[in-house]
Symmetry: C2
């Protein structure tokens, strides 16, 4: 079955963006093979805030990716090239049933929390940047259940001091 | 000069204790040489909340350690074997001038923030436990300045999947 992988850059104190959505603290490491990383996926999930951040920083687009944006407020006609979906759990349940490559949960923390609570996330992969942000968007907003992980791999990127950690989700319980 | 080392166990989502002060999620790894770790220090700093947690879990004491508890409310006569201090910055400035072993900033996050803002912390050492707590006492409560780190070392403890990361503080600036 296709996996849902929450793969994000994070500060050591647990933020995926600064207080105003900043991500200038993320230094892309020359040793990360982004092309190979992208090749593992054909589907991208993101919340509204993350989508709006990616729109303001006009990137090269996501060729070959099906992009789903979870939002109760955005209109499909205002959002070309992406599919707007209101409720993430039924969407992801259906996507996991379909054949295909892996599913990238691109952000943010609110969407991660929704899918975590629905037991629909398979891995948590964080690239820990060597910085304390002191505030911002948390990697996981507050939730009442604990989730146990299993470290699957770790890799140091010595040029930037970034540590890539990959965990499998193995269980959950009341906190 | 003696270093001040903030050395704590942390969940992947950045908490050093659960919502009610729980630390049952910390599994001491048999490969961590706690005796060697303790030997590096002769001085221990902690905030009031951390002190109260250590008191309720009667440990073996801290032989050979000078223990300072930062608190504006505790009475010295109620706290045998420790020194109660109101303001951490002058204390730590003075301790760093004196000869001795390293200084362990044992917790919690509030005291870390005070000393970080006063540029009195030398290293941040976190043992990342493979768990998402979803809430609790943050490793660093909100603060307005960013702090840049440099990864000094990392070590995997395979029996528990704990990752020990050690960072030097290299700079700070407005977020």
């Amino acid at each position: 079955m296709r996996r849902v992988r929450y793969s994000v850059a994070m500060s050591l104190d647990g933020y995926i963006a600064g207080p105003n959505g900043e991500f200038d603290w993320i230094t892309p490491d020359p040793d990360v093979d982004f092309a190979a990383m992208f090749k593992a996926y054909d589907t991208l999930l993101m919340g509204r805030k993350t989508y709006e951040l990616t729109r303001t920083h006009k990137g090269p687009g996501m060729p070959g990716m099906s992009v789903y944006v979870i939002s109760r407020t955005l209109s499909p006609e205002d959002c070309p090239n992406v599919t707007i979906v209101r409720d993430p759990a039924p969407l992801v349940t259906e996507l996991k049933r379909q054949p295909g490559k892996e599913i990238w949960l691109f952000g943010g923390g609110d969407l991660f929390r929704s899918l975590l609570e629905a037991n629909l996330v398979d891995t948590v992969e964080v690239a820990i940047a060597p910085v304390l942000l002191g505030g911002g968007l948390p990697v996981l907003p507050e939730t009442s259940a604990r989730h146990t992980l299993k470290l699957a791999s770790h890799q140091l990127y010595p040029k930037t001091g970034t540590l890539g950690l990959s965990y499998d989700l193995v269980g959950s319980g009341a906190a």
